[in-house]
């Protein structure tokens, strides 16, 4: 079953700016869909259109089979977790959680039961009588999630909920959000600009750029077969190497080297290679790939990053710390499966 359908959604601001340019997304029952993209790509706007905080210029938002374009946020059966928590500062944690239920006319005993259950789930039971100002960032984040959970909505909307937390807490909360969402089995949309969050959380990722969808797919699909150079450079850290290259006669030419092309192409292309798929061979150790000039080596512990250039263009390779540190000149050993070709002009995958 489908929880949410976004059909050809367009957002045009009064000043004429187009924030969302006709986007189609569906969210299935229990699915966690992540909207990811750089700031200004329209991901938050799209989420806020689903929430009802932004009007829909064109297109349809259908939630549980009901067209909700003109429905007030409070009547949409959604729950949202905001970036800066947006807790009510004058209310205790308990009242923050109970507020939405109270306004729906839920009986007192039921409110109490739901609040206590959510508090237990989120381990905030000890703070119920405190004001938000007396809580730490992580605790506030839990309260904000509790406020969403007690509503028992059709869909959770997360708007960059972890960006105000420090790195350690962020990783911990990320995992917790995922567990919680699985356990509750409620569909969710999660907006982030952080590709690690997108990869780890998502059932499916929607990559947005400039108000348009670049690609929709599982994390493995988006990572393994990026639909465009934009997706290729956005998903994955360090990002995919993108080299200008020539093709012809079934081969790719970079500088002086020729590699067998995985697909048929003619003329200039952009060649993409993931850093961890670029194997290095010292000297001439059997490798026939293009030569790489090494200038910097970064140790990250388990792996190391080798920065340098291939055919005069910046290139990063990633090798296990077990392998020997390469010299100044190495050759790349590449496999046809690991080569991604993109149209030189449009950046679309070939």
């Amino acid at each position: 079953m489908t929880t949410l359908e976004i059909k050809q959604a367009v957002k045009r601001y009064p000043n004429g700016a187009l924030a969302v340019k006709g986007v189609d997304v569906t969210v299935e029952d229990g699915e966690l869909v992540v909207f990811v993209g750089p700031s200004g790509c329209g991901k938050s706007t799209l989420l806020r259109m689903v929430a009802g905080l932004e009007s829909v210029t064109e297109g349809e938002i259908v939630l549980d089979g009901r067209l909700v374009n003109e429905v007030e946020p409070a009547n949409r059966n959604i729950a949202m977790v905001f970036q800066n928590y947006a807790l009510y500062p004058h209310m205790s944690v308990y009242k923050n959680l109970a507020y939405g239920l109270k306004n729906r006319g839920t009986p007192k005993a039921e409110i109490d039961a739901k609040v206590r259950e959510a508090a237990k789930l989120l381990q905030i039971g000890d703070f119920l009588e405190r004001k938000p100002s007396q809580l730490s960032g992580g605790q506030r984040q839990r309260v904000a999630m509790g406020r969403a959970i007690v509503r028992d909505p059709a869909i959770f909307l997360f708007d960059e909920p972890l960006s105000n937390l420090d790195a350690k807490l962020r990783n911990q909360m990320r995992l917790e959000i995922k567990r919680l969402q699985r356990r509750l089995g409620t569909a969710a949309i999660y907006v982030t600009h952080d590709q690690v969050e997108a990869m780890t959380l998502a059932d499916r990722i929607v990559v947005l750029n400039n108000g348009e969808i670049e690609q929709i797919g599982t994390p493995a699909q988006v990572y393994g077969a990026p639909a465009s150079t934009f997706v290729a450079s956005f998903i994955g850290a360090p990002p995919m190497n993108l080299l200008k290259a020539q093709t012809g006669d079934g081969a790719i030419v970079i500088g002086e080297s020729r590699i067998e092309a995985p697909v048929r192409a003619n003329g200039p292309v952009t060649l993409g290679i993931r850093p961890e798929r670029a194997h290095l061979a010292n000297g001439s150790g059997g490798a026939d790939g293009p030569p790489m000039k090494v200038d910097t080596v970064e140790e990250l512990g388990a792996v190391r990053l080798i920065h340098g250039s291939v055919g005069g263009q910046h290139f990063t390779a990633n090798q296990s710390a077990d392998e020997p540190i390469p010299g100044d000149q190495v050759r790349l050993r590449l496999q046809a499966d690991d080569l991604h070709l993109f149209d030189h002009g449009t950046g679309r995958r070939l």
């Binding site: 929430a51 949202m80 905001f82 970036q83 800066n84 507020y99 939405g100």
Partner: protein, 293 residues
């Protein structure tokens, strides 16, 4: 340890001196003088003084015109505070919801603030004039024959209207900035949690404005009590006759028109004590129930 930066120990006191001098000359000395002279029967021509104990006080509070002025001042303060806060809040909420042209709208609403109280009083006289006053004409449509300066309550109501009008801009500015400091996320969260706009206002917005409202209430009570002197004086053209006066204006009348400096001093001491009590009550009782973010 923090070490004093001054070379001479007297230097900091020297820097404090101007401020202390102002407090002493314009506040402490007159206050002390008022307290002292409230126990004497003063000769208005700087002649003899006769010690009369608390006669001035008993005289003041038992006189019927004092009771009348006190009652009017109380009513005046309650009405002016309530309406100037209420109308300003209404305008601020409206201005906050305006998306386009908010700048000019705000400026127009704040304009009145720049008008001095006596000028406001003069404008009031014009608006409430028996022959040309548009407000009098307006009320006449409802069959109310308003006679400002002649009828006690008509004058009182006119004074309340002018005093309220004059105070609205200050309250408006504070309320608007208070509204705009409420985080957007909190309002949005509320719009998801509560379908009723008025419900959201009373349960979220209004409580978050409480610090502003509390501050403004003190300012407004003080204003209605003391700073409306100019409006009262101008609107009554310095000749109160049978018209209502506020306690502060009565201090002036009895002292400088009636030449009863002792009695007038006693009244001002009563006012001082009242303001002191008011301040303590406000801070002790009301502040406890106000949420400060």
């Amino acid at each position: 340890m923090h070490k004093a930066q001054f070379q001479s120990p007297l230097y900091p006191y020297l820097l404090l001196l101007p401020q202390m001098a102002i407090v002493a000359i314009f506040f402490l000395w007159p206050s002390a003088e008022a307290v002292r002279s409230s126990f004497f029967l003063q000769d208005p021509f700087f002649g003899n003084e006769t010690f009369v104990g608390i006669d001035n006080y008993t005289d003041a509070v038992t006189r019927s015109d004092y009771g009348r002025a006190a009652w009017f001042t109380f009513l005046f303060t309650v009405v002016v505070t309530f309406f100037s806060l209420g109308i300003a809040l209404l305008l601020a909420v409206a201005a906050d919801n305006v998306l386009r042209g908010q700048g000019p709208y705000k400026t127009l609403l704040m304009w009145v603030y720049a008008i001095a109280p006596p000028v406001a009083g003069l404008i009031g006289i014009m608006l409430f004039d028996q022959h040309i006053g548009p407000i009098v004409d307006f009320f006449a449509l409802f069959g109310w024959d308003m006679r400002v300066g002649v009828d006690y309550w008509d004058s009182g109501i006119a004074m309340m209207i002018v005093a309220t009008w004059k105070q609205i801009p200050v309250n408006f500015i504070f309320f608007l900035s208070g509204l705009q400091s409420i985080p957007k996320g909190v309002r949005e969260a509320a719009s998801i949690d509560n379908p009723s706009a008025s419900g959201r206002f009373w349960t979220i917005i209004f409580p978050l404005l409480a610090p502003t409202s509390f501050f403004l209430m003190i300012i407004n009570i003080t204003y209605a009590f003391f700073e409306t002197f100019g409006i009262v004086d101008v609107m009554l053209k310095g000749e109160p006759g049978n018209n209502p006066v506020t306690l502060v204006y009565k201090v002036f009348l009895d002292g400088f028109r009636g030449n009863d400096l002792g009695g007038s001093s006693a009244q001002s001491v009563i006012l001082m004590v009242f303001v002191l009590a008011l301040t303590i009550v406000q801070f002790r009782l009301i502040e406890r129930r106000v949420h400060y973010t």
